[in-house]
């Protein structure tokens, strides 16, 4: 390949957009987090006081706990369910394409529409879910309306919405696995479980880890389905870090404090990703 001195210009537009879209905001958010600034008033430099305030207050730790509670449960359920469905549908010869098409539909639905659909379905008195439960003699809970059931309801909603993602990717990965190892396992008389444990799972592992990372980052950033259903209630039971950052900036107009929340949370996500890179020796440069 002959060296091409003009090639640098190819990356320039993307770098300009990336710098404007991520580099500037990151630096500016860092600076904002050191200010006491309510939109419309005079900004005052306060050093780390915002950080002390959010970490010693009750709102942020609670939101952090809620967010991790949501993320861990949702990721575990969606990964296991997606894997199970992918394994089952992998055995289907006729109609698999149609099944996949129908199953990715929830993924196409906007988070706000997902919220409204489930708000209607989970309504304690008029919702179809409690009606169907009453048919089999179960008195359904008030789902999004009580403290102990609100977050599990949000987890259930996210499971309906996003399991298609884990399913589709694991499904594609399963389809592209080589046939020989399975042939060998069959000839050695391995049980289906042994085949899964020693052949399928090791080969799926890289994809499985990738799916888990993607879902972890996405669930930690959860906003839409909480904003659209409970708005963080009842009694802050479903307040996530991002809904808290929204409230702080656009309802209380405390821009400095909101920036501090976003900065701390970004560092937590970054730390998690670095942890993953340390654990996983592969540097993601397979392409």
């Amino acid at each position: 390949m002959r060296r091409d001195k003009h090639i640098r210009w190819l990356i320039a537009p993307a770098l300009v957009l990336l710098a404007a879209g991520t580099l500037y905001p990151v630096i500016y958010a860092g600076y904002l987090s050191l200010l006491q600034w309510n939109w419309g008033s005079e900004a005052k430099f306060v050093g780390l006081r915002n950080f002390v305030r959010i970490l010693s207050g009750s709102g942020f730790p609670k939101a952090l706990f809620n967010t991790f509670y949501f993320a861990v449960c949702a990721v575990v359920i969606e990964t296991l369910l997606g894997l199970g469905l992918a394994l089952a549908i992998n055995r289907i010869r006729t109609g698999a394409g149609l099944i996949r098409t129908l199953m990715i539909l929830p993924l196409m639905v906007s988070g706000i529409a997902v919220s409204l659909i489930w708000k209607v379905m989970l309504d304690p008195t008029l919702g179809i879910v409690n009606y169907l439960l009453s048919l089999v003699g179960i008195a359904g809970p008030a789902w999004l309306g009580t403290v102990p059931t609100a977050m599990p309801s949000i987890i259930m909603i996210d499971t309906w919405w996003q399991t298609a993602f884990t399913f589709i990717i694991l499904s594609s990965a399963l389809k592209s696995l080589p046939a020989e190892p399975f042939e060998a396992a069959r000839l050695e008389g391995a049980t289906p479980f042994q085949t899964f444990r020693h052949v399928t799972l090791p080969m799926l592992k890289p994809v499985l880890i990738t799916v888990i990372i993607f879902r972890t980052i996405d669930t930690l950033k959860v906003f839409d389905i909480i904003f659209g259903t409970t708005g963080g209630g009842p009694l802050r039971a479903t307040e996530s870090v991002q809904t808290l950052a929204y409230q702080t900036a656009f309802k209380s107009y405390k821009f400095g404090e909101s920036a501090a929340i976003a900065v701390v949370f970004s560092l937590i996500i970054l730390a998690l990703c670095i942890l993953y890179l340390v654990i996983d020796t592969d540097d993601g440069e397979k392409a």
């Binding site: 990336l18 404007a20 958010a29 996949r100 906007s110 906003f223 929204y246 900036a249 821009f255």
Partner: protein
């Protein structure tokens, strides 16, 4: 093994699939029925399963304040956002596809980090910036800020598609005196066209459905369809019929995408996650 036992064994994946499809589709189907019922039927308990559909809810949703304008805004944002992402992303993907170009690794890590950042880290700074330069509450501003996620995604995917194109093709064109831009435009873009289509569709879906950023950076003039739908919740007496109809209106275009371009979407999602 008796024939019936083996038949049962062959059938269980179908049972799982039918159940999964039913659970996936029922909520969408249910909201569609509510959108097509009269107010009286929608609130009936036990639910009315057989009814003659009425269209008035769709009329009320569509003509409610700002809804049709928001629909148009979202279409424009999807179009501009995709044009920007392709204009900057295609050359960038070609660049990053080449070995030993300066800054390659740094840029790739940067792309991953921008995907990781929680929206509110850049929303607040962008709000301040947009207020001062007049981009707040404009579709252009929204399409620009959407590059935070569309551009990394576009570059990431196209790089994977470009990687499958043999370098000998570019070499041959270069010997005939074609410049880099012409090589990208006449060789890489046509061959990777299916991949580019997948990218455009996935970007459109993401931008069409986006709520968080639009909520903070638009107000009224540039409000998107997600915000118009969000407007239906939170009144003292919720108009369930219109709310359901609005949800169906926002779901429909993307559902059609999914059905018409299922293979492309799956290919794009898988490539994005695995490479």
């Amino acid at each position: 093994m008796t024939p019936s036992a083996s038949a049962r064994r062959a059938l269980w994946p179908y049972a799982v699939a039918v159940l999964a499809v039913a659970v996936s589709l029922f909520p969408i189907f249910w909201i569609l029925t509510i959108a097509l019922k009269t107010r009286f039927d929608a609130f009936a308990m036990p639910p009315v399963w057989f009814f003659s559909p009425v269209w008035e809810n769709f009329g009320r949703a569509w003509s409610s304040t700002g809804f049709s304008g928001a629909f148009l805004n979202s279409l424009i944002v999807c179009a501009i956002g995709n044009v920007l992402a392709l204009a900057a992303g295609i050359p960038a993907a070609y660049y990053l596809n080449r070995r030993n170009v300066p800054g390659r690794r740094t840029i790739l890590i940067w792309l991953l980090i921008s995907y990781m950042l929680p929206e509110f880290l850049f929303i607040v700074p962008m709000y301040v910036l947009f207020q001062s330069i007049g981009l707040y509450d404009t579709v252009i501003g929204l399409a620009l800020i959407y590059q935070v996620f569309t551009l990394p995604f576009t570059i990431w995917l196209l790089r994977a598609f470009f990687a499958d194109i043999p370098e000998a093709l570019a070499e041959a064109a270069r010997l005939e005196g074609a410049g880099t831009l012409r090589i990208v435009w006449t060789i890489y873009v046509p061959i990777a066209a299916p991949g580019i289509a997948a990218t455009v569709i996935l970007n459109a879906i993401k931008m069409w459905n986006e709520l968080t950023i639009a909520l903070a950076l638009t107000f009224e003039k540039a409000q998107t369809v997600t915000l118009a739908v969000a407007g239906f919740r939170g009144y003292a007496s919720i108009d369930w019929g219109a709310m359901s109809a609005a949800s169906i209106i926002i779901i429909l275009p993307m559902a059609l995408f999914a059905i018409l371009a299922q293979r492309r979407i799956v290919q794009g999602l898988s490539l994005g996650a695995v490479k």
